[in-house]
């Protein structure tokens, strides 16, 4: 019989060693950068009532929700994303705080495996939400903050594509609702062949010029030139407004000095029902899959009783980890051994080294452990035979109040290698 207890559920993973250090480092850097921009960290429960999430879910996310029952028999679910819980917090716990609210988080989210999804079930994400500001300056801030945060993790080659749900909806507005849904699903699936086929079969639904505009729309990508192209097919007021917003956004982004890492993609359609305005998606050159996504969701907060405009973005921590070059994890851990009688010295040395920022594990030498009698194994090269280590190795002892103590610690720090085994 297979022993399940020793395996992990499919789609989950363990982290340890260098990879864990790098992941933690990325998360720390992202959160630190978010907080530097004035965003407050929030934490929400791992699971909530399923109805809470139902307010923000997209099509197959609902099917993939990992559901459980609480003791009263109510359906609860592991959070599939963080925007909805953060919106709930903004409307309840922080309901009396003045808008705008700047909130950030670093949390694991859960997507059950349904249909084609072969990806991870447990997905660590770090994100920001700016709630209560409807201007494009807020969208620009989110993008600029994201660019800074990704750079802070060490990523250099990446870009953001900017879409606008308002533009897409405005161009679709002339069509019957059922057709809009089909076209939107084709755009979400990024299936331009199906999109064209639908348009080709619906020649009665809109004027020929409008259909042609719909056909070229999702293929337009670029900078300011793309806005000009967008204007040329923006037949309704709402579409012109979206173009104005793109224009304002690009101007603001150049003042943030990040305009060089963004471009427009008119066909960008994210798989979440709640997006209402500018949408963003980030890509790293080193990775085939998007590393970040987000956008404006002006209708979600009202679902929780506090109507407010909002925008945000979330980073896929594991994908950033994968996109970064494999580099060493930097900080070595030193081991400090003690035997009978030297424990107080070892503990004192350990304290001192930690104060200096070194990572030290203090551990007793058991009879089985073959630690070299000279005190140091392998990595130790006594650069100063008369130094502190020789003093210790020769059986000398110090206490924290001893006049030798500071000298001993300084000497140890001076000769600490990448990873040292020291013996007191």
């Amino acid at each position: 019989m297979q022993s399940d207890f020793i395996e992990r559920p499919i789609g989950t993973r363990d982290y340890a060693g260098c990879e864990m250090t790098r992941k933690r480092d990325i998360e720390d850097r992202l959160i630190r950068e978010f907080e530097l921009w004035g965003y407050q960290s929030v934490e929400t429960p791992l699971f909530e009532y399923a109805e809470t999430f139902a307010r923000g879910l997209h099509r197959d996310e609902d099917e993939r929700l990992l559901r459980l029952f609480d003791r009263e028999g109510r359906t609860i679910a592991l959070r599939p994303e963080m925007t909805t819980p953060v919106a709930r917090v903004a409307a309840t716990l922080l309901g009396s705080e003045t808008l705008p609210l700047r909130l950030c988080y670093c949390a694991k989210t859960y997507n059950g495996r349904g249909g084609r999804v072969q990806g991870p079930v447990e997905v660590p994400k770090a994100g920001v939400e700016l709630i209560g500001d409807s201007g494009t300056d807020a969208d620009a801030e989110i993008i600029a903050l994201m660019v800074d945060s990704l750079r802070e993790t060490g990523l250099t080659e990446f870009r953001f594509a900017l879409g606008h749900m308002g533009f897409v909806q405005a161009l679709f507005s002339v069509l019957p609702p059922e057709l809009r849904t089909r076209l939107r699903h084709a755009l979400i699936a990024k299936d331009l062949v199906a999109y064209d086929a639908i348009l080709a079969s619906e020649t009665q639904s809109a004027p020929a010029g409008w259909l042609e505009a719909l056909r070229v729309m999702p293929r337009i990508r670029g900078g300011v030139d793309a806005i000009e192209q967008a204007r040329s097919i923006a037949f309704v007021e709402a579409a012109q407004q979206a173009c104005d917003e793109w224009q304002e956004l690009l101007t603001a982004l150049s003042e943030h000095e990040v305009a060089d890492v963004v471009h427009l993609d008119l066909g960008l359609c994210l798989d979440h029902e709640y997006y209402t305005g500018i949408t963003i998606e980030g890509y790293a050159d080193a990775l085939g899959q998007p590393i970040a996504y987000g956008g404006r969701y002006d209708a979600l907060l009202a679902q929780f009783g506090r109507p407010a405009a909002a925008t945000g973005c979330v980073v896929h921590v594991e994908r950033v980890l994968a996109a970064l070059d494999e580099e060493g994890c930097g900080v070595p851990v030193h081991r400090l051994y003690y035997s009978a009688g030297t424990r107080s010295v070892a503990l004192a040395v350990g304290r001192e080294l930690r104060l200096l920022g070194h990572r030290v594990a203090v551990t007793s030498v058991t009879p089985e452990q073959n630690v070299d009698e000279s005190g140091l194994v392998d990595t130790w090269t006594p650069t100063d035979p008369s130094g502190a280590w020789a003093f210790l190795a020769a059986g000398g002892t110090v206490t924290a109040s001893d006049e030798h103590f500071a000298v001993v610690c300084q000497e140890i720090v001076r000769v600490l290698g990448q990873e040292s085994d020291l013996r007191c």
């Binding site: 299936d191 331009l192 062949v193 199906a194 890509y283 050159d285 085939g288 899959q289």
Partner: protein, 208 residues
């Protein structure tokens, strides 16, 4: 440099022809060659020769920027890629086939290489059927009673006929598609768009 994953097998010859007429000639011995990577320095492209079912994965994960593969495989794999162009070659019918007197509305077990197409088709008929997922020689299944019928691609219908089977219903037609990786579509837009345009003009402005 663009990396383009090509599906070996059924559509490879047509793919080579299409590429050549779009200004991207590939070596003549493509099908016979055992090399898996071919480089064309003059056009700054590199071709990967992959098993058709693997092409969506190469493109989804960004090992290839673009891929040319049949819609049959693409639909089954449901990869997260941009589907940019219907190349209009490698056209095949996807059919339900079985003994001549089989009632398609009453079958219970269906053998196929295309479980997703099959399940969708019968679900639309309001039927839940048992799918037997096979990798090849699907025609064998009804012959030995493993399944009531099959769902498979048909080009000429000869294999079916030689085994006494006949097409009973058509699910649709499939053809070769050009797909793009999500990162490459955004970050290598100029190169990707140029390649798409070259192939689009070649396929007579079809579908894009």
């Amino acid at each position: 440099m663009l990396t383009i994953a090509l599906a070996k097998g059924r559509i490879l010859d047509a793919t080579a022809l299409a590429l050549a007429s779009a200004g991207y000639p590939v070596p003549n011995d493509l099908a016979e060659s055992r090399r898996l990577i071919l480089e064309d320095d003059s056009r700054d492209v590199r071709y990967l020769l992959a098993k058709p079912v693997d092409v969506p994965a190469y493109v989804e994960h960004g090992a290839a920027d673009l891929g040319i593969v049949g819609k049959d495989v693409l639909h089954e794999k449901q990869a997260d890629v941009h589907e940019l162009l219907d190349l209009r070659f490698g056209v095949c019918r996807l059919v339900v086939a079985g003994w001549p007197n089989t009632d398609v509305g009453a079958v219970k077990r269906v053998a196929t290489k295309y479980p997703r197409f099959t399940t969708d088709y019968f679900r639309r008929m309001g039927r839940q059927i048992e799918v037997i997922d096979l990798q090849g020689s699907v025609e064998l299944a009804p012959l030995i009673g493993l399944a009531d019928c099959i769902v498979d691609l048909v080009e000429t219908g000869r294999t079916l006929a030689e085994n006494g089977l006949t097409p009973l219903a058509e699910l649709g037609t499939v053809s070769a598609r050009l797909v793009a990786n999500r990162r490459s579509y955004q970050l290598r837009a100029t190169e990707v768009d140029a390649f798409v345009e070259a192939l689009r003009q070649r396929s007579g402005g079809a579908a894009s």
